[in-house]
Amino acid sequence: MFSAEGWALLLVPTFLAILVMLIYGFWDKITGMEYYVDEDVL
């Protein structure tokens, strides 16, 4: 088995990455604001 540090190296960044995904993915819900996108851009 890995040492505790070894598992921390694998698991902590992975959880942090999932946290970043959740925060960024729902940032528009959290702040209620979103980039203005019009038909010209789309």
Binding site: E5, W27, M33, L42
Partner: protein
């Protein structure tokens, strides 16, 4: 041997069938990535990752995990957060800007954003792409050469030439396979291979505890998160691996994927989830394949002469031969899906960016297509030469190419999206500095990473930073150069205003409706749905 060949052929036939099916039954507008057309977010996100990860993921990275053990996981951390940072800092803004400016390549965007009428940015951009994409393609050929060498007992050089010929035919056929859905299949296949591989390896060895015991008895530093180093050396070790993160902002074959997505808001949801979760799975899989592969090697179950060939070697040793053929074919397919988009980016840099946009040469379409083919063949020959002459370590060659693109495009792309005051003079100076310094440092002084063998003062710096890629330090120097030159010059007023209006945020409920919402509202209006 025959089983392996059969597996490869069956896999390629399946891919071809998907290509034909997609050609017939999907709307023509969604098919090709060429020219910034719309693609669905799932396809764009997976194709973004399939183009990004290739020979490096299947050969280069497992080879590092084999050599360094647990410490190599820092590279996975760098790549994972690099992928996320691309979505957070580059994706939506680049898509909004290129939608507004009708830009379809990275030099297009930079020229429009910085209002550069001197054509210098376009020329510098094309040069950076040409030089470093050729190196990048040579890394793919090296990876293909190693996979074929392991499968068919031929030499790596023969494998390189064989891979190059296959990729060239594939590109010249007009990207026949290069439809979105084959990229999605490739991405799924890469996940399947990298999940099954470590499980099979553990099964052959007798469990994870057994694996760590075998490794601990032969090389305890393989189980240390810092490769057995302490203090400052441990930090340098971790940065050396995790430095991939700064390269993500400047990879043209990755960021152009964000430019072709249909709606920038979808990069937020579900875009980042698809890419992020896929990346976590493949990086864990590639890491454990190499790590447990080392235990198998030490236990005498798998025999390899080259750590980078661990996945093909494990496939051949542990799987029925037809399934091993599938894995080898999957590696080749991953290489093809990356190399073809890199060759196309390079050939459009010559044909479109330089000849058409800089010199204003109007050629007939047929001549233009043929010119593109000549460029592809020329670059293929150059890349094969580099692959055969080079050090033949996929990880190192990719780091060299990644570094040039990271320093050449990364700082200016990042700053131009987030800082309204960037000027064209700063863009020209920054890109020229990035290109020249990176070429000199990588070809004459250090190679891809700092080392103490360099002459004079460079050797002293190299001794402090041994193992850290040159591009990691150079990225921040280039960032500084662009900021200083920008502050010394003045940007046009209207472009600063434009920057602010384009990236303004509005309350979610006031945003304009997406095409699907428009259709739904119309259907409601005429009473089709309630």
């Amino acid at each position: 041997m025959e089983g392996i060949l059969a597996g490869i052929i069956v896999y390629l036939i399946i891919l071809m069938a998907i290509g034909i099916w997609a050609n017939k039954y999907t709307a023509s507008e969604d098919q090709y990535f060429v020219g910034g057309r719309k693609v669905s977010i799932i396809a764009a996100a997976l194709s973004d990752k399939a183009s990004d990860f290739s020979g490096w993921l299947m050969l280069g990275y497992p080879g590092q995990a084999f050599k360094s053990g647990l410490g190599a996981f820092w590279a996975a951390i760098g790549c994972l957060f690099g992928t996320l940072a691309d979505y957070v800092f580059v994706g939506p803004r680049l898509r909004i800007y290129s939608g507004k400016f009708r830009a379809i390549t990275v030099p297009d965007y930079l020229e429009a954003r910085l209002m550069d009428n001197t054509k210098l940015i376009r020329i510098l951009g094309a040069l950076i792409i040409l030089i470093f994409m050729t190196v990048y393609v040579s890394a793919q050929y090296t990876a293909g050469g190693k996979a074929l060498a392991q499968a068919f007992n031929i030499s790596v050089n023969e494998g390189i030439i064989l891979t190059a010929v296959v990729v060239m035919i594939y590109v010249l056929m007009g990207g026949f396979f290069a439809v979105v859905w084959t990229d999605v299949v490739q991405a799924m296949f890469m996940v399947a291979t990298l999940v099954i591989m470590p499980i099979l390896a553990l099964n052959a060895l007798g469990g994870f505890d057994k694996a760590t015991m075998v490794i601990a008895s032969s090389s305890p530093t393989h189980l240390d998160p810092f490769g057995g180093k302490t203090g400052l050396a441990a930090i340098v070790f971790a940065i050396g691996y995790a430095s991939w993160i700064v390269g993500y902002f400047g990879q043209p074959h990755i960021v152009t994927r964000y430019m072709s997505v249909d709606d920038p808001r979808k990069l937020r949801r579900p875009g980042i989830f698809i890419s992020g979760i896929w990346t976590i799975i493949v990086l864990w899989g590639a890491f454990f394949s190499g790590f447990i592969g080392y235990a198998l090697f030490k236990a005498g179950i798998v025999n390899v002469t080259d750590p980078e060939r661990i996945i093909p070697a494990m496939a051949i040793a542990l799987m029925p031969s037809w399934l091993a053929g599938f894995v080898i074919a999957g590696i080749l397919a991953a290489i093809m899906s990356t190399a073809d988009s890199q060759l196309l980016v390079a050939s459009s840099a010559v044909a479109r960016d330089v000849l058409h946009m800089v010199f204003g040469i109007e050629l007939e379409e047929g001549i233009m297509v043929n010119l593109g083919r000549v460029v592809v063949v020329t670059l293929t020959i150059l890349a094969v030469y580099l692959a055969i002459k080079g050090g033949k370590i996929v990880y190192d060659i990719v780091a060299t190419a990644w570094g040039g693109l990271a320093v050449g495009f990364g700082p200016i792309l990042l700053l131009s999206l987030w800082w309204s005051r960037v000027t064209k003079e700063a863009g020209i100076v920054g890109m020229a500095y990035g290109l020249i310094s990176e070429v000199i440092l990588e070809s004459k002084i250090y190679g891809w990473a700092f080392n103490p063998k360099a002459p004079g003062i460079f050797g002293a710096i190299g001794a402090k930073l041994t193992g850290v890629p040159v591009f990691f330090v150079n990225f921040f120097i280039t960032l500084g150069v662009i900021i200083v030159v920008s502050l010394l010059t003045k940007p046009p007023k209207d472009i600063v205003e434009m920057h602010k209006t384009l990236f303004r945020k509005v309350p979610v409920k006031e945003r304009s409706m997406s095409p699907a919402e428009n259709v739904a509202a119309f259907a409601k209006e005429i009473g089709l749905i309630s």
